[in-house]
């Protein structure tokens, strides 16, 4: 045991090193406070009686013989502050973030190249007529088809109809899924009863609900929302359940010791601790909402319902217009990816980074 402590005197014995430690630290914030007065104290040595920290050491000897012990070889209290500042500076890692332009280039460039290659191969296949042109239109044909709808002024309304349906369905799913998830995670009998069913529901393709929903609600918006809810609620609830399960018991224990119990414990400890898992569930919930919505829109097609992207796709099929169909598929993909990239990815990154969970390679 004593052998492990032998390294200590070698560092405590040379207090002259301490001021240089924080002084060379590039981060100005943390070490600046303690470091600012440490060189002065180190220089003044034990004579700095008026200083608060030195005075603290003087009163510290309350049990027996006064500060005679401190006079020998041991460093004064000022050295402790300097020593600590030095240790803090040595141990702290300075986290620097890449410039955003470089991040953007390194992140956006590879996918763009991949897309360009796919488009090139597609164009080649079109050029050499792997299939007749009406079965395999060129990328430009698809673009023109979309451009035509854009010029007709209908394209954005298709997108908006679907996105607003998806958003509304998703928000309702979040409300239901969150409450359901909390109950399943915290109430043991409920969990035993419906926990396995809830995770099993995730593997049920939500398109399977469409016939049932049509029988219940007919060709209406209610059918579409029912399918979206049945698709998204289980994954959101499951995300929250696994988020709660992954909370380290240490946090719950620490929460109880500082007095965060009951509802305060749920609010200040349980929910924030479960946030990463919950966010992953939300992200998956959105993907399920969007998928379910497209399945529902594809089948639930009535003139008095607004035309969404799924209905657009179905109309293209009826007209046997392959450019139209491919254009609609592309739009569905772009909206799905776009919402994930623009909304969920930044939130998730922010949460993970603030907790030090985002490890940069």
């Amino acid at each position: 045991m004593a052998s492990t402590e032998t390294t200590t005197p070698s560092t405590t014995g040379k207090p002259d090193d301490d001021p240089t430690g924080p002084a060379t630290a590039p981060d100005a914030e943390a070490p600046a406070g303690p470091a600012a007065d440490s060189p002065a104290e180190a220089a003044a040595g034990a004579t700095a009686e008026g200083d608060t920290t030195a005075a603290a050491a003087g009163t510290a000897v309350s049990t027996g013989a006064p500060a005679t012990a401190a006079g020998e070889s041991r460093p004064a209290a000022g050295d402790l502050a300097g020593l600590e500042a030095g240790l803090d500076a040595l141990d702290s890692t300075v986290v620097s973030r890449q410039p955003w332009l470089r991040t953007l280039l390194s992140k956006a460039f590879p996918p763009l190249i991949a897309i360009a290659i796919v488009l090139g191969l597609w164009q080649l296949a079109y050029h050499f007529q792997l299939k007749p042109h009406y079965l395999l239109p060129s990328p430009l044909d698809v673009f023109r088809s979309l451009q035509q709808k854009w010029l007709e002024g209908t394209l954005l309304s298709f997108v908006w109809t679907s996105v607003s349906r998806g958003a509304l369905g998703f928000l309702a799913s979040v409300a239901i899924g969150t409450v359901l998830g909390l109950i399943v995670a915290r109430v043991k009998p409920v969990r035993a009863a419906i926990g396995p069913i809830l995770s099993g529901l995730q593997s049920l393709p939500s398109v399977a609900w469409v016939p049932a929903a049509i029988i219940w609600f007919g060709l209406s918006d209610a059918t579409i929302y029912a399918v979206v809810l049945l698709g998204a609620v289980p994954s959101i609830a499951n995300g929250l359940v696994s988020g709660v399960d992954q909370i380290s018991p240490l946090y719950l224990r620490a929460g109880r010791t500082v007095g965060a119990t009951g509802l305060a414990g749920v609010r200040h400890v349980l929910l924030p601790a479960a946030l990463p898992g919950y966010l992953a569930g939300l992200k998956q919930g959105w993907a399920f909402s969007w998928r379910s919505l497209m399945a529902a829109e594809l089948i639930v097609n009535a003139p008095d319902l607004g035309t969404g992207l799924g209905q657009l796709l179905e109309q293209g099929r009826e007209l046997q217009d392959m450019s139209w169909v491919l254009g609609a598929i592309l739009l569905i993909l772009i909206v799905g990816i776009g919402i994930e990239l623009l909304i969920f990815a930044p939130i998730e990154r922010r949460v993970l980074r603030s907790r030090g969970l985002l490890v940069k390679s």
Binding site: E5, T7, T8, E84, R253, A254, T257, A260, G356
Partner: protein, 266 residues
Amino acid sequence: MTTNTLTKPAPAAAGSTGPYAARIQHVSKSFGRPGAQQQVLDNISIDVTPGEFVCLLGASGCGKSTLLSLVAGLDKPSAGTIETPGGRPALMFQEHALFPWLTAGRNIELALRMRGVPRAERRGEAERLLELVRLKGAYGKRVHELSGGMRQRVAMARALAQDSQLLLMDEPFAALDAITRDVLHDELTRIWHETNLSVLFVTHNVREAVRLGERVVLLSSRPGRVAREWQVDIPQPRRIEDSAVADLSVEITEQLRGEIRRHGQH
């Protein structure tokens, strides 16, 4: 035998600063179902007077962490009573147990908030506590940006934020490197002197116990019983490499080894 109420009259000056910061009397603790029970603590009685620094020392299986959980009120004893007149004790673990979704300052403020400190005063109080553990300027730092020693100091500030008379520490420096641990020993001694806290400090490190404690209580293992007590009269500030600390450590280590040897004989 359930919680035995004592016939002895309560001390007259029972208030926030009574004659005891913690009074552990005839405490036993068993785990497991009836019939297949394992006794962890057996009839432990320890008094901690206000302002006293007591180190609980023992090998693995002596139930020192269990005892600390009982004193903290996280668990109930199978028998005996525990009184902590100063309110709910503050508790520090080997792991810093700071919440990673809050900054260092906000971690402290959560403890203040749970204690009922008004919002307007929390920020200033948190800054003051950070300054006490010499982490001025760390208010906005995230937990992962701090070193191991800094995290334990924030955890100490959070424990102090509970404004309890009694600080329970469960091997708080065991996971730190030797240099940092040595500095935190100095730091803890200084803060203890500045705050009039009573400390019940659990460790398996004999030198650490002698370096810090005014009193060292040795627990035997399986079940945990009080084996012996030492009054440490070496004046503070001590150093872990002081010869007086070493001498007493040798004596206590001998006793500790004797306790451990007993378990190999059956």
